[in-house]
């Protein structure tokens, strides 16, 4: 079922946890709410569930306004960060809890729970208590319990937050498969950008209770709408300079910025893999010194320092790195091949050039 929130606002005392947020979760979608801790994403989830009452704004589930419905009446499945399994009940009874409340008959309950145990690869664990399970198993019991009464939407708060890294990877893949199989509209909260990228069909990025950007993982990564998104998702070099005659000059680097008035300070962002580095000082126009080499497993990261003292990160694949034979401290040349002018944090997220078009573009080295 489709979820829609319009102008959702939640204030706690004098603070605003969620400020005027609107977005849609399409039917059958797996959407990730991404943001640092304290960004209000969990509050959004709790508001949709009915565990918190909004200060302003409307929530629609399947086109129906649910503001005045209690949490019990909203027919949502909720997975808590620390699972919140009933410690005194067995796995079977945990999963059957919602069904018992809804007065299903015993035969149907047994059938549904058995079905879910199989779906969650929990066969044979029905008689165990939560404390006898591993973290990954508990998490799957929590999802099974939430899914048992056939909720119209599934809400998950940091579903992978409390398990270790290896199990987390397995659970992510498992959740994607489960979602593909069941196709229930799902919304999950995470602070881990990699997780959001991998699991979600679409991502909504939050910061300080505000929606920063919504889009596919690729959109959010390649075309960050704000400086915050650029900094939060992936790694990005961000430099600041003042616009002059349609250009931003940052040390010896120049970026075209047509349409910006002279004197405006602009943030320019570029991903590390758009910084090309060569050991031949004549290869590219810009000069720098190689400060550090980091081995990342799949690639290398180079840290270079320009004569103006600017420190930039570059990413290089292994083959290229081996051809170059870098040594720390040597002089190198570099070029930025692609960049993006970022709106300032604190503005409303629209691109601030006069044309209203985002300024991005390839640069000829």
């Amino acid at each position: 079922m489709k979820i829609e929130v319009r102008g959702l606002t939640k204030k706690f005392g004098s603070g605003t946890a969620v400020g005027n947020v609107s977005f849609v979760v399409h039917e059958g979608e797996l959407l990730g709410l991404l943001g640092p801790s304290g960004s209000g994403k969990t509050t959004v989830l709790r508001l949709i569930a009915g565990l918190e009452v909004p200060t302003a704004g409307d929530i629609f589930i399947d086109g129906k306004r649910v503001n005045d419905l209690t949490v019990q009446e909203r027919n949502i499945g909720f997975v808590f960060q620390h699972y919140a399994l009933f410690k005194h009940l067995t796995v079977f009874d945990n999963i059957a809890f919602g069904l018992n409340i809804k007065k299903w008959n015993r035969r149907d309950i047994e059938q549904r729970v058995t079905e879910l145990l199989a779906l969650m690869s929990l066969e044979g664990l029905g008689g165990r208590y939560p404390h006898q399970l591993s973290g990954g198993q508990r998490q799957r019991v929590a999802i099974a319990r939430a899914l048992a009464p056939r909720p119209s939407v599934l809400l998950m708060d940091e579903p992978f937050g409390a398990v270790d890294a290896k199990v987390r990877q397995e659970l992510r893949e498992w959740l994607i498969r489960l979602h593909t199989d069941l196709n229930v509209t799902s919304l999950f909260v995470t602070h881990d950008q990699e997780e959001a990228m991998e699991v979600s069909g679409r991502i909504i990025v939050f910061s300080k209770g505000k929606l920063e950007q919504a889009g596919s993982p690729a959109d959010v990564y390649e075309e960050p709408a704000t400086e915050f998104v650029a900094r939060f998702i992936g790694s990005m070099n961000i430099v600041a300079g003042v616009a002059r005659r349609g250009q931003v000059q940052v040390g010896s680097l120049e970026f075209p910025a047509p349409g910006f008035p002279d004197g405006q300070t602009l943030q320019v962002g570029f991903r590390p893999y758009y910084v090309k580095v060569a050991e031949d000082p004549a290869r590219y126009r810009q000069q720098a010194k190689l400060r550090h080499i980091y081995f990342l497993g799949v690639a290398y990261r180079l840290e270079i320092e320009t004569p103006d003292g600017l420190i930039l990160r570059s990413r290089m694949n292994k083959e290229e790195f081996r051809r170059c034979r870098f040594t720390v401290g040597q002089a190198v040349s570099f070029a930025v091949t692609h960049f993006r002018i970022l709106p300032q944090e604190g503005t409303d997220g629209t691109i601030s050039s006069e044309t209203g078009k985002p300024i991005t573009g390839p640069l000829t080295p």
Partner: protein
Amino acid sequence: MRWLLIGIVWLYFLVLLVGPILYMASQSFSEGLAAFWTEISRPEALHGFTLTAEITLIVLVLNLIFGTMTALVLARQKFWGQSLVSGVIDLPFAVSPVIAGFMLILLFGPDTLLGTFSGRAQIKVLFALPAMILATLFVTFPFMVRELTPLLHTLGTEEEEAARTLGADEWQVFLKVTLPALRWGLVYGATLTVARAIGEFGAVLVVSGNILLLTQTATLHIYQSYVDFNYVAANAVALTLLAVSFAILTVLEIAKARAESTVAEAGAQ
């Protein structure tokens, strides 16, 4: 050195606890089993036991209900004056039971509003069962609250919220989630309440008037027999109460062990 310390603890334990109990037991049976039986089956003694049981049962039920309610409100709600209420709950621990009884006397005395009111309504409070119950409630009130509040904090609200998202109403949340989490705390609190209610003397003495066959509880009967130089009676009734207390203590220890293993399980999560 180690043996010396252990020896001191043993000696202390024997002289202070075991010795008096054994001596009392031997005195109870000093005139034979028959005399012991006569003393505890005497109408005055039986009436004392019955009265103590009545008071204990009523106080236990009231404490289970209101103690749980108070703990829930203190742990789950935020309200003005919360820290004051939370602090005052321990007051009965600090105040002498005699003072507690005296406060009731003042409160329900013939010249007060409450006293006049109960007098008009033909309800005898002082020197009757109601005052004895009120006095016992006063001294036992903290036990339940003090056992349950930390358990409620440990439980947190997530399990309760999970139950709500699964469709449970507030009453179902309480019965199916909150109460099971509190079960060992309830047993523990109930045991302490019962032990204290059975043994209460000072507060009850002040408000009851110690009227034979009317308001004389088991502990008051022991006191009266002792004052009247009927040592066999005093010893016999005391030994009986002691046996009850010992049984309760055993229940308490079992409950404690179970509660601790539950906490360990929770900790393992």
